[in-house]
Amino acid sequence: MQTHRYDVVIVGAGGAGMRAAIESTKRARTAVLTKLYPTRSHTGAAQGGMCAALANVEEDNWEWHTFDTIKGGDYLVDQDAAEVMCREAIDAVLDLERMGLPFNRTEEGRIDQRRFGGHTRNHGEAAVRRACYAADRTGHMILQTLYQNCVKEGVEFYNEFYVLDLLMTEVDGERRTSGVVAYELATGEIHLFQAKSVIFASGGYGKVWKTTSNAHTLTGDGMGIVWRRNLPLEDMEFYQFHPTGLAGLGVLLTEGARGEGGMLRNATGERFMERVAPTIKDLAPRDMVARAMVAEVREGRGAGPNKDYVYLDLTHLPKEQIESKLPDITEFARTYLGVDPVTELVPVFPTAHYAMGGIPTDVNTRVLSDNDTVVPGLYAAGECACVSVHGANRLGTNSLLDINVFGRRAGIAAADYAVEHDYLDLPVDPQGQTMALVEGIRSATGGERVGAIRRDMQETMDMNAQVYRTEATLKQALTDVSELKRRFAHISIQDKGARFNTDLLEAIELGFLLDLAEVTVISALERKESRGGHAREDYPTRDDVNFMRHTMAYRTEGRDGETTVRLDYKPVVTTRYQPMERKY
């Protein structure tokens, strides 16, 4: 076992992790630990853009952006946090440009901007051009640009180091951060990283669902690690299903396609979003569009042999516009469905996409152990965190914004903390829990297979905890997940080796996914209202009297080692916007 010492350890090398690393490396000795290579992260799959009220092409201001974010989040957004994000958005975009990001340009040579779902002029009057973009590869460009600047700054990476535990040391009755434990994929060796501060920037957990836009590797590891250390998770019932996944596959087609003028049609050719959101139509927020699509299919107006999808229509757009502004999604449709968006309708259906919930933090990315107690030295940013700037439904482009604004804040805050504090002694047997996890799986001899359990989990979550939910479906999901957790205790893996053991890796990942599926379903069961991405058919309206509050889920360990999930609530921070009915 090797031991390392860094002021700051960052877990994850996607957009948030690398943005943090650029700041932190300038201020303190920093290591970035990633289970992949830095440029493999799913930030690179983001397509459409990053919103900021630059007003390069039409009048705009960050207060309108703030309002849209809050309304889009169905008023579950912490308004102070949204203000921070939307105000700092402008510098976040300009910083990226100065780092070299090749944005599309206007005729004057400024950063070009386009329309995106839920982003409006003057509190909802009409769609506004706010999304800064680089074709439909904005995430790819952000990821590459951030990695390039990490190279420039000499950021130290530990590639294919899978972090499996957070180390905390009790000081004066308070748990403080003292490091992490990582498993080196190439060798199977366990490494201890002693650190003054730790930033989790480990991404989402979209592989809980079967139809998903998420990478195979998005298994909620960071959220799971924090959870197993008995820190809370916030608003886990709020998960976004992106309207336009390639039907049957879930591969993402950017909302920017509708920003460029694309529209959704049912089997009869009707542009059904005109009925649902008369003002901004196809550019309504994602939760509304996803529900409308599912409703079309349920009411028999779905297209295709099984009437189980709708169409994205770009055929009225000029070929040059499609090929220059939307080249990648055009290729995805051609490659995976054999459909040419220039001349044909593209079959689409909602796909699991983004966790609004996650590790609770304040606006300075400090992780909370309850509604307001900070865990000294622990930070989180990006999809694994819940600030909460996305509330019950994230607006398109605000995730790329989130990782840049809060990634930067995390890098600065964690480095400042490290400069002001000393290393803590590591807890007794720091690697114990990790060794038990790894060796337990490696030596297990049960008959259950990881792939089968994962598939069963994904099927029940798609069936019972997707766009629409009811008490009955969620109870079914909970029963199924509990049974799957029982089966998971009896798995075995075939690869017993030390080197590049991805069989072992996938088993560990599944353990995290099952924990998070359970928290998601339990949180969803108790929220007896419909708000944003959480649509309960048995409680179809928003209930501000009883549920205008964040869910806080806590893991508690009983004496027998059994764990239970306890729910509590946290007030929403409201500054200047009172909840209104959400119409578009």
């Binding site: 440029t39 799913h42 400024r110 080796g497 080197r499 590049f500």
Partner: protein, 238 residues
């Protein structure tokens, strides 16, 4: 109704803790024509042999994790559909060449990233930092658009015969990265990058075999980019 068919994959295996030498092993899977080779590999790993080892992440050709040699050609497993391969014979799958083999389809990527990092793959701007964005015309932006698409999958570099035989050659992907900045109107370090690439292990090693252009899953005209760098070196003008 499209039927699943039995497909045979012949995979070049190497388990470093067991095998002295790589060897070929056949697997049969049931696959739909629209399945990806990655789906077939996943099926083998889940249902037949958990020791089969490969990298993958996004599953749709954007993260660059799963470059491998499929039927003798470098491709991404997640972007290669069964229907586009001849399934009357076994589909051969092996690790990309020219990088140290670690296990099955996994190679050591460090030498590849080392070459990338050597060409100064970041913007080096001139003058004071502007308060707003730097201006750039759409034409200037278009000048280097093609080489911004690179996902660092190593398909091009590991398809290059010069790279296979000469362990020191930067390789196509690193030159693509240099090109992306040399031709960016906002950048001021073209001279330095050109000097690096003028080295004996630089662009002059390229023999214009076009393997890289054929291999690139992003459709980058790699050979053209290398030619543009060579021309810039000859005329010292970008």
């Amino acid at each position: 109704m499209i039927e699943a068919a039995e497909v045979t994959l012949n995979v070049r295996r190497f388990l470093p803790e067991v095998d002295d030498q790589p060897h070929w092993e056949e697997f049969k899977v049931s696959a739909f024509p629209t399945d990806r080779v990655l789906d077939a590999l996943t099926q083998i790993k889940e249902q037949q042999d958990g020791t089969l080892t490969f990298r993958r992440s996004c599953g749709h050709g954007i993260c660059g994790s799963d470059a491998m040699r499929i039927n003798g050609r470098n491709r991404l497993a997640c972007k290669t559909l069964i229907k586009d391969l001849d399934i009357s014979a076994a589909i051969t799958v092996e690790a990309i060449k020219g990088l140290p083999l670690e296990k099955d389809l996994v190679v050591d990527m460090e030498p590849f990233f080392d070459a990338y990092r050597e060409v100064m793959p970041f913007l080096v701007p001139e003058g004071h930092e502007p308060t707003r964005e730097r201006l750039q015309s759409a034409e200037d932006r278009a000048r280097f658009d093609d080489t911004t698409k690179c996902i660092l999958c190593a398909a091009s570099t590991s398809s290059c015969p010069v790279f296979w035989t000469d362990g020191q050659y930067f390789g196509p992907a690193a030159i693509v990265a240099a090109h992306r900045f040399i031709f960016d109107s906002r950048d001021a370090a073209a001279e330095e990058r050109l000097s690096i690439l003028n080295d004996r292990e630089g662009v002059w090693r390229c023999r214009t075999t076009f393997n890289c252009t054929e291999a690139c899953p992003r459709g980058i005209e790699v050979t053209k980019a290398i030619q543009e760098v060579k021309r810039a070196l000859i005329f010292r003008r970008v």
